[in-house]
């Protein structure tokens, strides 16, 4: 990757990620960020080493000797499983007429044909999720603006291609934008198209004029 990732998840978020305490949809966004960010890959390994050290520091929880023995006998009667360590490779996907390299984490969710919904300069395709957690791709054409909105929950946006700007700065490939209910922002693109992964833990709330009408429809939109 030529672009140096500047916006990372907080350590606390990574800690929750490595112990699988995050909602799976949020974990997906973190996993895709990791694919693009060597810095956080190393932190992940370090945090896992710490968690392993914590595991062995726990005091033993006893069970009857016979129960342990039974488990041990059962396990050692099982055959070895052929398993291979794979290498994590990005994969190419045709999106809006251009071929884009995407993080390997997203591959399982991109096996089916994408159904794009177009609204002005923005197209979205839902990848997974139900109810409160939504995972979608967001394709924002150049010089477009996402209507100003706040969030009722957590919104994580991972830039996959191009650049996006909001009130607090510029985000490029691999950068992670995290917005909480305290944030109101108006993301926009400038001279190039931008592809993002968007994970929402609760519906968005649009703030301005006509775009408020989008609120009831946003299950289509995001």
């Amino acid at each position: 990757m030529i672009h140096a990732v500047k916006h990372h998840p907080a350590l606390e978020l990574l800690e929750q990620y490595i112990e699988a305490s995050l909602a799976p949809e949020l974990s997906l966004a973190i996993a895709a960020h990791l694919d693009l960010c060597p810095h956080c890959q190393r932190i992940k390994m370090d945090l896992e080493a710490e968690a392993g050290a914590t595991l062995v520091s726990l005091s033993e929880a006893p069970s009857a000797e016979a129960d342990w023995q039974q488990m041990l006998d059962f396990i050692t009667a099982q055959p070895e499983v052929a398993a291979k360590m794979e290498k994590r490779q990005p994969f190419a996907l045709q999106i809006q007429n251009s071929e884009i390299l995407l993080p390997a984490s997203l591959k399982p969710l991109l096996q089916n044909k994408l159904k794009w919904l177009n609204l002005g300069g923005i197209s979205t395709a839902k990848l997974a999720g139900e109810d409160q957690h939504n995972v979608s791709l967001l394709y924002i054409r150049k010089e477009s603006e996402v209507p100003q909105h706040t969030h009722l929950g957590l919104e994580i946006t991972l830039v996959l291609k191009g650049k996006i700007y909001d009130e607090s700065g510029c985000y490029g490939e691999g950068d992670l934008l995290i917005n909480t209910p305290d944030h109101t922002h108006t993301p926009r693109t400038m001279s190039e198209d931008c592809l993002c992964l968007s994970v929402l833990t609760a519906p968005l709330k649009f703030k301005k004029g006509l775009t408020r009408l989008l609120n009831p429809l946003q299950h289509l939109f995001y």
């Binding site: 350590l11 080493a49 929880a61 342990w68």
Partner: protein, 216 residues
Amino acid sequence: MLDPTSVQRHDGSNYQGPGIQGSMSVQPQDNTQWEQALTFIAVDRDKQAYSQLFSYFAPRLKAFGLKMFGNEQQAMEMVQDTMLNVWQKARLFDASRGCASTWIFTIARNVRFDMLRKKQSRKDELSADDLFFDGDYPEQEGTDSNEWDLWLLAEKVAPHFAKLPAAQRDVMEKVYLEEKSHQEVSEELSIPLGTVKSRIRLALDRLREAIDDPRS
């Protein structure tokens, strides 16, 4: 010029000094004991090595499971699935990537994730193996992000130092204040060298985050 003390450091028995040498340590004598056991299991399906590994890890995994699930039945299910994976996939363990405990933790974490997912009967494509990738990422050119001058920031760092988790603070104090080598700290605290290094990196990252945070 050769520093004579640095030569002595290669000899672990000289290091501890006469006072401590006499007492028996309860810590495993060898940090690599479980890494070796996993190799025996992978190569020879060595049941004896597995049995030892099992009696060390299974009760600890159970404690972990009780903490995460809050009930005995699920905790034991997690122990069994985790230890079964260890037995069946020992070949995947790569000591150059980390300790046995790290690897076993990641398996238990994945087992737990998939158990929770199954309980919610979610059939979508989010599986632990994809979300918590454990192999090699492609090589990327990168800068060493820890190359920053800790001492220039000493004044800013000091107030955050006390807030580090105790394990990381211990290591940082020994390395940066007592100027000990990573190897010395590893021996002194009876923790693997890799753990010393990872604690330093984590502590540096935590400090950087504290300093970068405009609210602090």
